[in-house]
C-alpha cells in the first residue's frame, strides 16, 4: 500500500476529511499541552526569553522531514505526489511580515489563537474574530490585489529543487541548522531570561 493514500485512491474525499479532523484535533491537543495556548509564552520568543515555540516547530519540521524522506526512499510514500503550496515570492514575503507583526501584537498565530479560544481565553477569541474579519476583508479586496497576490511565481518548488541539490543533502543541512538553532536558542534564553 503506497502513499499518499488519497492520491492512490485508497481513501476517498470523505475519509480524507475524517483524517483531517483527527489530525487537527491531535495538532490542537499537542499545541495546548506544549503550552502554546498562552500568549505570554508565544510572545516571549520575540523577546528571546523563551524560544519553546521555535524549538517545538523546528522539531516537528525535522521529524516530519526525516519521516517523509525515508518513507519515500523505501518506496512507501511517493513524495512528489504530496501537494505543495505554490511559491509566490513577493506576497509571501510581505504576508510573512504582516503575520509576524500580527503575531507579536496579538500574542497568537492563527492556530494558537484557536487553541487559546478552546480553553476559554478571551484574548484568543478576539484573535479568532480578527482573523475571520481579516479573511473576509481579503476576499472583498482580492480583485484589486490579485496582480500582487500572484507576483513572483516559482511554482510548486522545494528547497532541493530550487538549489539543484539532492534531497538527502538538503535534509542533512536542515537537521544540522535545526540543531545549531536549538543550541543558539538555549544560549539566548539564558542571556535574556531576566530581560
Amino acid at each position: 500500500m503506497n502513499g499518499p493514500f488519497y492520491n492512490y485512491g485508497w481513501i476517498g474525499e470523505e475519509a480524507s476529511l475524517i483524517f483531517a479532523v483527527v489530525t487537527g484535533i491531535a495538532f490542537g491537543f499537542f499545541l495546548e499541552r506544549a503550552g502554546l495556548g498562552s500568549a505570554k509564552k508565544l510572545s516571549a520568543q520575540f523577546y528571546l526569553r523563551d524560544l519553546a515555540v521555535f524549538k517545538m516547530m523546528f522539531t516537528a519540521i525535522i521529524t516530519a522531514m526525516l519521516g517523509v524522506y525515508f518513507l519515500n526512499w523505501f518506496g512507501f510514500l511517493q513524495a512528489d505526489m504530496i501537494y505543495l503550496t505554490p511559491t509566490y515570492i513577493w506576497p509571501q514575503l510581505i504576508g510573512g511580515l504582516v503575520f509576524g507583526v500580527g503575531f507579536i501584537i496579538g500574542g497568537y498565530c492563527p492556530g494558537t489563537s484557536c487553541v487559546a479560544s478552546s480553553t476559554g481565553s478571551l484574548d484568543g477569541v478576539m484573535n479568532v474574530i480578527g482573523l475571520l474579519a481579516g479573511i473576509l476583508l481579503f476576499g472583498e479586496v482580492y480583485p484589486w490585489i490579485e496582480p500582487f497576490y500572484t507576483a513572483g511565481p516559482l511554482g510548486q518548488i522545494t528547497i532541493a529543487q530550487y538549489l539543484g541539490l539532492p534531497v538527502g543533502w538538503v535534509v542533512f543541512g536542515i537537521v544540522f541548522i535545526a540543531l545549531a538553532g536549538f543550541k543558539v536558542s538555549e544560549h539566548l534564553e539564558k542571556k535574556y531570561a531576566n530581560a
Binding site: N2, E13, W73, F74, A178
Partner: protein, 195 residues
C-alpha cells in the same frame, strides 16, 4: 539539549546524506523516473506503422469509450496474467498516468528496458494531439514543431484551436529525460475520468 537526541537526529540526517550519494533513486531504484514518450513521437510512430505494442491499462469500459489507435486493453489488475510475450517495444498509458505509475513500479528491470510510459496518458493524447491549442503566430524556432503537431492532429481526425500565446509550445518542447511524473489534473473528484 539532550545529547542522545542530538546524536539520533544527526545519525538519521547522516544516513539520509549517504543514501542520497549511494542510492539516489531509492531502495531498488523505486523512485527512478520511467522512460517517457511524448504524444507527438508516439503519434508519429503509429502513423509510420512502427512495431510497437501499445497497452491501455484502464478498465474495459474506459477503453471502449476512447483509446489510442492500435492500443490493446490490459487493465492493470490483469497485468501479469495476460502480458504480451513478444519482444516488441511496449508503450503503457492510462488516464493521467496514475495506473501507469503503479505498473512501472512493479515491472522487472528487463521489461523496463523495452518499455515506455506515454507522458500524460490518454488525456494528453486528447488535449495535446487530437484537440490541441496551438499558437497563432508561432515563433520561427517553434514553427516546424507546431506544423508537425497540426499535421498529426488532422491525420488522427482531430482539429486544432489557434490562440495568440507563444508559450503553448513549451509543453511540446519539454525534455522528458529530466521530467518527473506529470501532475494529474483534478477536475472532478480524485482524478479526471479514468486513472
Amino acid at each position: 539539549m539532550k545529547l542522545r537526541l542530538v546524536i539520533i537526529a544527526l545519525s538519521l540526517a547522516g544516513i539520509a546524506l549517504l543514501l542520497a550519494l549511494l542510492a539516489p533513486n531509492g531502495w531498488n531504484n523505486v523512485n527512478q523516473s520511467p522512460r517517457f514518450i511524448d504524444v507527438v513521437s508516439l503519434a508519429g510512430k503509429i502513423k509510420n506503422r512502427e512495431k510497437l505494442q501499445i497497452i491501455d491499462l484502464r478498465t474495459e469500459e474506459e477503453y471502449s469509450e476512447f483509446h489510442i489507435p492500435s492500443a490493446i486493453n490490459i487493465p492493470l489488475e490483469e497485468w501479469g496474467q495476460s502480458s504480451p510475450q513478444n519482444n516488441q517495444t511496449l508503450i503503457f498509458y492510462s488516464g493521467d498516468d496514475w495506473l501507469a505509475r503503479q505498473l512501472w513500479n512493479s515491472l522487472t528491470d528487463s521489461l523496463k528496458e523495452k518499455s515506455f510510459i506515454l507522458y500524460g496518458g490518454v488525456h494528453d493524447w486528447y488535449d495535446k494531439l487530437l484537440y490541441p491549442t496551438l499558437p497563432l503566430n508561432a515563433k520561427e524556432e517553434d514553427l516546424e514543431l507546431s506544423e508537425k503537431v497540426h499535421e498529426l492532429c488532422k491525420f488522427y481526425g482531430g482539429f486544432a484551436e489557434f490562440v495568440d500565446d507563444s508559450l503553448l509550445m513549451n509543453y511540446y518542447q519539454m525534455n522528458l529525460k529530466e521530467a518527473g511524473w506529470p501532475e494529474p489534473d483534478r477536475v472532478v473528484g480524485l482524478v479526471r475520468k479514468g486513472c
